[in-house]
Each structure stands twice: as structure tokens, then as C-alpha cells.
Point group: C2
Chain length 259, copies 2
Amino acid sequence: MPYALYYWPTIQGRGEFVRLALEAAGADYVDVARGSAAEGLGMPALLQMLERDALARPPFAPPILRHGKLVIAQTAAILLYLGPRLGLVGKSEADWLWAHQIQLTIADMVDEVHDTHHPIATGLYYEDQKSEALKRAQAFRTERIPKFLAWFEAVLVANPKNQAHPAPPTHHPAVTTARSPHLIGARLSYVDLSLFQLVEGLRYAFPRATNRALQNAPRVAQLADAVAHHPRVAAYLQSPRRIPFNEQGIFRCYPELDG
Amino acid sequence: MPYALYYWPTIQGRGEFVRLALEAAGADYVDVARGSAAEGLGMPALLQMLERDALARPPFAPPILRHGKLVIAQTAAILLYLGPRLGLVGKSEADWLWAHQIQLTIADMVDEVHDTHHPIATGLYYEDQKSEALKRAQAFRTERIPKFLAWFEAVLVANPKNQAHPAPPTHHPAVTTARSPHLIGARLSYVDLSLFQLVEGLRYAFPRATNRALQNAPRVAQLADAVAHHPRVAAYLQSPRRIPFNEQGIFRCYPELDG
């Protein structure tokens, strides 16, 4: 039974964390809003899903996953559901709870990224809250990026499966997937994919601050690079299915916010 | 085996969502940081839990639940774990996924409440970001409170188990628990408790805006009042274990932010 992903068709946004899991697992899925309205897909299908009267359990906002009769919103809840089904998390309750905690912390950072360009109101344009955005982005660059990346690095260091690996050199020239660390255990999980996406987004939105912070988080950088070279992920990133970052999404390249 | 909750001892904060579930279920738990250092509890025990080198799976931030060897951070993940164990969620995967989605949406609103008084940086005092807070709070009052409450109301309306109940009158004088709606099915779940806490916090921080918005969300108001009268919840709210709201927590009474 194929998965149906409902998400805004022109941005990566939060939907991208779900897309990456589906793509890395080679899952059969339909990206509903990017399909054709003539085939019952496209924006009309997404908007219909958001009609609250239609469902006994109405979603708050996209991304939304439909699988058979089940409809799930909230990115982290979708990945909680997909993880074991796609083979992208360990089988024990302790493993999937740990993966979920990491995912929720990634989600917290994603929310903070959004607020760097919208610190006052989602309903206002960036230009109408730019002076506040400059202040918020400064705090985000100097306090929050280092704090979050230090925690992801600590998770990678503490993972017993990584402790045979020495820390990579700070300026790692070529990275091989074989020796890459993982956030959980010794295999790729959906949180590795999500951390890759977070780092990609940070590099797009705050290239200078992110590259500076990654010098203190070499395992995070190594993991992100390794995920980019995972065969199915690499194929996806080259495909037209990967929407480029843009200034309607969560990660926006406004050079003035990078200090 | 008792549960151990690790949270800042002088605020309700995010820990309160966990406390309410433990209290409503009559669970055996220790509120670690509020215990005595002489007995191995208190702030030293909380700070030790936050030492990253101590654990293979280090938590990012409190609240943290320890149950035997398992250590879980992130409020929504803790409730995901506790829900079935405390009898505070249905047994089917669909039920606990739906509960979790609602909880994550409550968590999103809680994050936005925090940012009304800290729109620029967590590391700055409120007084140092007050002009931005006034703007953010205005958008929160006029756009976000109505939007979130409308969704919770829609969830209550759509729950098939509530459809025998007529909508309560807008100014409901006395509410009986017996006819109260629930967010999921026909029984109390942890998301009912969390929605009560959210409404209590909003009433403390934004009394005028919240009471206005609740006039369009009568079932939300009815549910919050019914939870307050649940016997174990009512006993807890009267006890010294319930920390009063204060201006170090997430919900802060700054009258200027209520418009």
C-alpha cells in the first residue's frame, strides 16, 4: 500500500524530512500536491485534506501522511510511524524513543530557524520584521547554532558504536560512508537523514555561521556528508523531485542574517 | 517501579504537563529536583542528569523522565511513553498516534507562548526585548490564540463520541464532568490534561484575549473546567505540589502583553 504525502508543492519545508525518509528507503509514495489535478492530485487534493469537516481526526497543518485509512500530521509523529515500517530505526522501544527525542530536538531547531526571519508574526512579510529578524538571527548564530550542534556532536560521541572511530580531522577532505558515525547504533536511521537536512538548511541560510560552528562539531559534518553520498539519497538529491531551497521555505538565504 | 521526574523545581514549565499525567493517574513518582540534596535528590541530582558525559543517550533539556534504566527527554515523548502505562490513552496505534499529534500541536503553541516574552533571545531579559515582545504578543493574541483554539474546538466537535452532546452555552455557569467532551474517545486522556494546562496558562498570561477567544471555543472551555474538577487533579491543584504560575515560567503575567 503506497504512502501519500500531503505537503506544499513548491518548498522543501518540513515535508522534506518525510520525503528523505521515503526516498532513502526506496518506499512507494505519492507526493500528492505535486501531482496533477486532472488525476485527483495537486493543490485541490491538499486543500481538501485541510477541510476540517471531512475527517473525524482533522490535521492541524501539513505535512500530512495518509496510509490506508490512517491520517497523520506533525513531522515527528509521521517519522515515528514510518521509522520501523521503512527499516529506518531499531526494533526496541528504547531505540525508537531515543530516535524520536532526537527528531523532536531537530524540530525545535527548525522552529527556531523559521523565527529568525519571522520573529514577530507569520502573517507579516520578512521585510516588515527585518530589524527584529537581524537581532534574533544574531542570537541564533551566536548562541543557538553552537548549542544545538554541540548536543548532536555529543550524541555522536556518546553512541557506543562510534567509539572505535577516532574523531575526524577538523577539515576533512574526503569522507567515506563506511566509517561514518550514526546518531543511533551502527546503521542509518531517519534521524541521520533529518540531521543531514538540518545541516543542509543551515548551510544554505547561515553559511558562515554554520561552517564556523561545524568546526567544533566534526562528526556532525561527517555524518551530513556521508548521508549526501548514500546511494538512494544521492540519486534523490540529483532528481527533479528535490525542490531547491528558496525564500518561501523555512531555510532562507538572507545574507544580512548571516552576520 | 516509581517514575522519576527531573525538572526545574520552581516553575511549572513544560514539566507540568508530565506532572499532571502522573498526578491524574495516581502514579508513584519522585519529583527529583524538589527533593532534598541530603537524600540524593534536589538540584544536584538534576544537574548531574544534565552532565552529558554520564549517559550514552544524553538528554538535551528537562523535563526528563527516568524509569528504571530508560531516560526520556522531550515532553511529548515522555507522554507518549507514559500514556499507555498510566491508562491515559487508548490501546490502538491509531489512538496513541492521534493523541501524540494533538500533544505536539499543544507543544507548538507552548513554544509560541514562550516567544511572546522572549521573541529575540532566550539569553536576554524580558525588559531587554520588551518592544519586540509587545509586537509579537499582539500577533499571538489576534492570530495564533484564535487559530489554535479553533483547531482544538474542531477536534472536540469532530470526535464521534461527543456528537450526542449539544454544544454548551457560551457562558456556561456550572459544568459537570459527566457530560464533558474529551479530545479522544469517551475517556480522559493525557491530552485532555495538557489542554487544561494550556488553557490555564493562557488565562494566566493573556486573560482578556483568552476569555475572548474561548467564547468561540465553548467545548475547550468546558473541557478545561471539567479537568479541573477531576478528583485527583482537583486534589493536586489544591496541594503544595502545584507550583503557582510565576514570571520565571513559560506562562507569564505581563499585563502589557495582553493588549
